[in-house]
Symmetry: C2
Subunit: 255 residues, 2 copies
């Protein structure tokens, strides 16, 4: 397919590379920031533009991959070209695009992307949605060309997924940070914990998390929890987090 990428952030960067690797032609990369547009366009052999007036109309699809709060204004501006428009946002309903076009869709990659790290896109769940049947079929094919996991997910379900992803990704990463800070305060190497973090994530690839919960809270081991709280003495934030999550785990163990 001939695709125009609107945006140059983390998702646009990884998606653009995956599209190119799958043999699609990214015609243009648009970004308000010319440097960002050039950088991504260079890597995926596209043309960089930073003005919507320069849009090349020889394209099959606009993919809007920008911050949630500017999706709508871009969709509005692009709708004059009468091409299908999709966004890549977990939190934005399809309806936001449908105001501007009948050929509206969503292509939501359920993954965390950082510019510094390669991602195996074949393993990234692609959640697609389109009201138009032709576009739905097109998105299924497009998603299948870059990933082995393609799911039909409606806007309500996508909101739930986006929320659940915060619990599965953003919050655990913060807790990794907390553990790293605890070690750093005592001149201990974060490498000591890295294998544990890997194994914890590996375990739930085949098991349900509730089946592999370990630690003092699930054993309701009050002595160890009290000792941990003593060590946290003076750190109110981590003390509150420790208590709250331990209570939740104790409750889960009794459920």
């Amino acid at each position: 397919m001939r695709i125009t990428l609107i945006g140059s952030g983390n998702v646009a960067t990884h998606l653009g590379a995956a599209l190119k690797n799958a043999g699609h032609q990214v015609v243009q990369v648009y970004s308000r920031n010319a440097d960002h547009a050039v950088l991504l366009a260079y890597h995926i052999k596209a043309e960089a533009i930073c003005n919507l007036a320069e849009i090349n109309l020889d394209t099959d699809l606009f993919i809007i991959s920008v911050k949630d709060d500017v999706i709508e204004e871009l969709a509005s501006a692009l709708s004059v070209h009468q091409k299908p428009i999709v966004h890549t946002s977990g939190a934005t309903p399809l309806a936001t695009l449908q105001t501007y076009t009948n050929k509206a869709g969503v292509l939501y990659p359920l993954q965390t992307f950082s510019k510094t790290k390669e991602v195996n896109f074949k393993a990234v769940p692609m959640c697609i949605e389109a009201a138009d049947q032709g576009l739905d079929e097109t998105l299924k094919q497009l998603a299948s060309s870059i990933s082995n996991s393609v799911y039909a997910v409606n806007s309500e379900q996508r909101k739930i997924l986006h929320l659940a992803a915060v619990f599965a990704c953003n919050f655990p990463n913060y807790l990794y940070h907390a553990s790293q800070q605890i070690l750093a305060q005592h001149q201990l190497d974060f490498n000591l914990l890295r294998p544990l973090i890997s194994e914890t994530a590996d375990k739930v690839q085949e098991h349900l998390p509730s089946a592999v919960q370990t630690g003092p809270a699930i054993r309701d081991d009050k002595k160890t929890m009290a000792a941990h709280l003593t060590l946290l003495n003076g750190n109110d934030e981590l003390t509150t987090i420790y208590n709250l999550l331990s209570q939740a785990i104790i409750k889960m163990g009794k459920a």
Copy 2:
């Protein structure tokens, strides 16, 4: 080495297998529960006993791998044999054993173990401690025979590691559970989130967690956070956790 394993839980099971695989002879496995002793002993070609009177004295080392609150009574009972005694606990100081023997040590594998899942022991950080220099050398060699990561860690540091491990492992696993429950309530497949969980853990293998934090809180995206709280409406526990961790991430972003 000729080793006697006191205990048959998750740690004893994985450690016993790693010792056998490295060419050591596990002489006996002791457990109060005869079935547990037999099961582990069978797998690592040891003798199973459930009575301390049957201890074979032709051994070089007792490894006590049991619940923290029974370590001391076992150390007391075993001390009559005048053999080196080590435990595998993160939360128990060396001094607990030193009351009973001059040849006391610790061999703490910093990993989460479940009986249902194999672990690559070569990657497990082994934290060792001994006051006796000869035993310290022995433990270094023993740990190096089963793992590529051996660290000298004293009792104070080990307490800190054990606390940090709760933040790096037990709490993230609970949050995986929370995300799985959110999906289940909406008939969504947990497989949708599994690649995200893997990638989140993978990212911090090379980066610091603070450098790869993503999600609405680190962007201070109030609109998305408000939408998530609306979706959590009625679930007080997850609402409290969402607010607390989001505030901590916002604070981290401003630090």
